[in-house]
């Protein structure tokens, strides 16, 4: 695997954390800062990681997916909707409601994936347009339903935002969770844990199983796959739908794990950042995960630099500007794309509809 790239990515994370330690070290012990940076980094990285994994499933099978954003948003909404339906209408206890919510979110993602597959595999619609359709559709539908269902007339809850079942609990890993600084890493909520599991599983599936071999073959040279009797269409459908489901899980993170509420547009462009993370990590699950961590660290940096505003030396005053720090992930991505740090090589047949 591309060690040079990983080294570079790790370096960035260390630098980002280092900056904060340098700035805030005087007032807050370094250990505490690192711990809090790690915590923020991981929680921000969770949806990005899953989003990127979603992208990897689609693109390794040769289907470009810029609809991750929309898939997340729709899943976030319907998952949350299902959860509160169970909880406050059908009076189920919180835990089952949440779990049902997660399942619905995943299914929603799967449906969006199916739509994408129908458009780009069956109808051979330009895949980027297909993704754009999904993004716009998701914004419209969620915005419209959110209003119709939860606001005054037509609202099933009589205008009141119903009592939400809360969020998924943290599942600390026994001994590890009590470690000093790094302990936070082992005190995560289910979806955050699943994200890391997903990275490992995806890596295994892609590179060590029949499914993965065939998926990659379809993404690299569909005709060759066809001639050895692999059903290109089916493989692409399957992977795009799986990709959608993973994006759905990412969506669930927003409304069922992070906060118990839905807001229009709450995914806030994270789907696109996931896409960047995927490319950043050169279409490899581990790489994408690390890229997501970089973006997480950048976000953490931004929050912490505001927190330590007073401590920032005047020479570095520009760091106080949330705007300036906010640019880091985007600029990084563009640099990566130029291929300065190792060329990014997408699957050969990525984005090309398969004509028999």
């Amino acid at each position: 695997m591309d060690l040079r790239r990983f080294g570079f990515i790790l370096l960035i994370i260390v630098i980002l954390i280092g900056v904060v330690v340098l700035v805030g070290g005087k007032t807050v012990p370094a250990g505490t800062i690192i711990a809090s940076m790690l915590a923020t980094t991981i929680s921000v990285a969770t949806p990005l990681t899953l989003g990127a994994i979603s992208g990897i499933f689609c693109e390794r099978a040769g289907v470009v997916n810029i609809g991750i954003e929309g898939m997340m948003l729709a899943a976030a909404f319907f998952g949350w909707f299902a959860a509160i339906l169970c909880n406050s209408i059908w009076k189920m206890p919180a835990m089952p409601s949440l779990l049902i919510g997660v399942v619905i979110a995943i299914l929603t993602g799967g449906l969006m994936g199916l739509l994408h597959a129908v458009l780009s595999v069956t109808y051979k619609v330009d895949q980027i347009i297909g993704g754009t359709v999904i993004n716009i559709l998701a914004v419209g539908i969620t915005g419209f339903l959110n209003r119709q269902l939860f606001f005054e007339k037509g609202s099933i809850f009589g205008g009141q935002v119903p009592h939400a079942p809360g969020v998924l609990p943290r599942l600390p890993i026994p001994i590890l969770a009590d470690l000093p600084v790094v302990g936070v890493i082992f005190r995560q909520q289910p979806i955050a844990i699943l994200a890391v599991v997903a990275v490992a599983v995806t890596h295994f599936v892609l590179f060590f199983t029949r499914w993965g071999l065939r998926t990659r073959a379809v993404g690299e040279h569909p005709r060759a796959a066809d001639t050895v009797g692999i059903n290109v269409i089916r493989v692409r459908y399957a992977n795009v739908i799986i990709g959608g489901m993973v994006a759905g899980l990412a969506g669930a993170y927003f409304t069922l794990e992070s906060v118990p509420s839905f807001e229009p547009l709450m995914t806030n462009g994270r789907g696109f950042i996931s896409l960047a993370a995927m490319i950043f990590g050169n279409w490899s699950p581990v790489g994408a995960w690390m890229a997501a961590l970089v973006f997480g660290a950048a976000q953490a940096l931004q929050i912490n630099l505001q927190f330590f505003r007073q401590q920032i030396p005047p020479a570095w005053a520009f760091l106080q500007q949330a705007y300036v720090v906010g640019l880091i992930p985007y600029i990084l991505t563009m640099i990566i794309l130029t291929g300065i740090i190792g060329r990014t090589t997408p699957p050969a047949a990525d984005g090309v509809a398969y004509e028999k």
Binding site: E59, V64, I66, V118, L119, Y123, K124, V125, D126, Q127, I128, I129, G130, T132, V133, N135, I136, L137, V139, G140, I141, G143, F144, R147, Q148, K153, G154, P264, G269, F272, L275, A276, I279, Q321, Y323, V324, G326, L327, Y330, I331, T333, M334, L337, T338, G339, R343, T344, T345, P346, P347, A349, D350, G351, V352
Partner: protein, 373 residues
């Protein structure tokens, strides 16, 4: 062997017919589906659409407002179309538009003080608009150049540049460029000088010369694309970059030109909003123009004249939405749903062809060949 002359006529006619059919049917189908959604949501579709229509065309003022909405849509739609013609996908219209607005606003209010004199309109207005075009040009040229030089895919780069532009604008409007007037509490620039403003065409109506300009620019773009060597090069690179290279077209250069031109048009959209309508740039305006522009370009089949029609349609919807909500209190989000459906049906025209049993096949526009690493 068909007789050439009449064959030319047919060649010119046939595509127009088949091109117009699908988008039109797509719009109608989307409206019908939208009606069903409204109905399920407990609203009265007929009332809603009536409101929409009334709000968009019900009166002279309504029509004027529709053009006001359509103007930026035309520019942005053209921007995306030009990129499409060149085989490029410009998702960055949003950012290019925002920076265009910022730039022309700055020239609009700051230049007189800098020079210490009030410029006459015939200098100031062109300068302000030009600044917007320049800003857009730069923001479009960057991804174009990166694509030409490094093969970095423009889609992801334009998305990134959108966020950068967003942060940049917020920063400027909250800080350096904020209206210093003590009564002002909003993240917005000062009003631009009289000299930099585009007068309304009829007193009392907001319909401004920017709309006329938009129509002219659409014609110009159509002419450039179809009647000039530059257009020929852009289209050739878009249709088959390899053949273009073999034929001696400078592909890299053409890519940069297409994206720059695209950026200029998007920047123009922002500049005109400032100089023709708001007379200042205010944070939060232009939310969602970028994606609407893509929908418009596709609905218009990337044909400049088609784009104008599509833009008028989208403008009418956005404008009429207010009236619709006033009459029926149906959330304006339904417009987004309908627009997404339109885009869906236009993109997957096979669905439409199947629904309405349209036989003619037309080659679908292939805009992207993966990320190109």
């Amino acid at each position: 062997m068909i007789e050439p002359v009449q064959s030319t006529v047919w060649q010119k006619l046939e595509p127009i017919l088949s091109a117009a059919a699908v988008p039109l049917l797509a719009v109608l189908t989307a409206m019908l589906v939208g009606a069903i959604i409204i109905f399920i949501a407990g609203g009265n579709p007929l009332d809603a659409y009536w409101g929409l229509l009334e709000g968009a065309f019900g009166s002279a003022r309504a029509i004027s407002e529709t053009t006001v909405w359509a103007t930026p849509y035309i520019f942005a739609g053209l921007a995306v179309s030009v990129a499409f013609k060149g085989g490029l996908f410009n998702i960055g219209a949003e950012g290019q538009l925002a920076l265009g607005a910022v730039a022309s606003a700055w020239v609009g209010y700051a230049l007189p003080d800098l020079l210490g004199l009030n410029l006459p309109a015939w200098i100031h207005l062109p300068l302000a608009v030009g600044a917007g075009m320049l800003a857009g040009a730069i923001w479009g040229a960057i991804p174009g150049w990166l694509k030409a030089k490094t093969g970095a895919h423009e889609v992801i780069n334009t998305i990134m540049l959108n966020y950068i532009a967003l942060n940049l604008t917020s920063f400027l409007l909250n800080g350096p460029m904020q209206d210093p007037n003590p009564l002002n509490v909003i993240a917005r620039t000062p009003l631009i000088a009289e000299g930099a403003r585009m007068p309304p065409i009829f007193p009392g109506y907001r319909l401004h010369w920017g709309f006329v300009l938009a129509l002219l620019v659409a014609l110009l773009i159509w002419w450039v694309l179809n009647k000039t060597t530059l257009g020929f090069e852009i289209r050739t690179v878009g249709a088959n970059p390899n053949a273009a290279r073999y034929a001696g077209v400078n592909v890299a250069r053409t890519i940069v030109i297409s994206m720059t031109l695209s950026g200029i048009l998007a920047g123009l959209a922002g500049a005109i909003e400032v100089t023709g309508l708001n007379y200042r740039h205010e944070l939060g305006f232009s939310i969602g123009y970028g994606f609407d522009a893509i929908a418009i370009a596709l609905l218009g089949k990337t044909n400049p004249l088609g784009v104008v029609i599509a833009a008028l349609l989208f403008g009418a919807m956005r404008n009429g939405a207010t009236r619709m909500q006033f009459l029926t209190q149906i959330p304006t989000d339904i417009i987004s749903v309908i627009q997404a459906l339109i885009l869906l049906f236009v993109a997957a025209d096979a669905i439409i062809r199947w629904l309405y049993r349209i036989k003619v096949g037309e080659e679908k526009l292939v805009l992207t060949r993966g990320w190109g690493g």
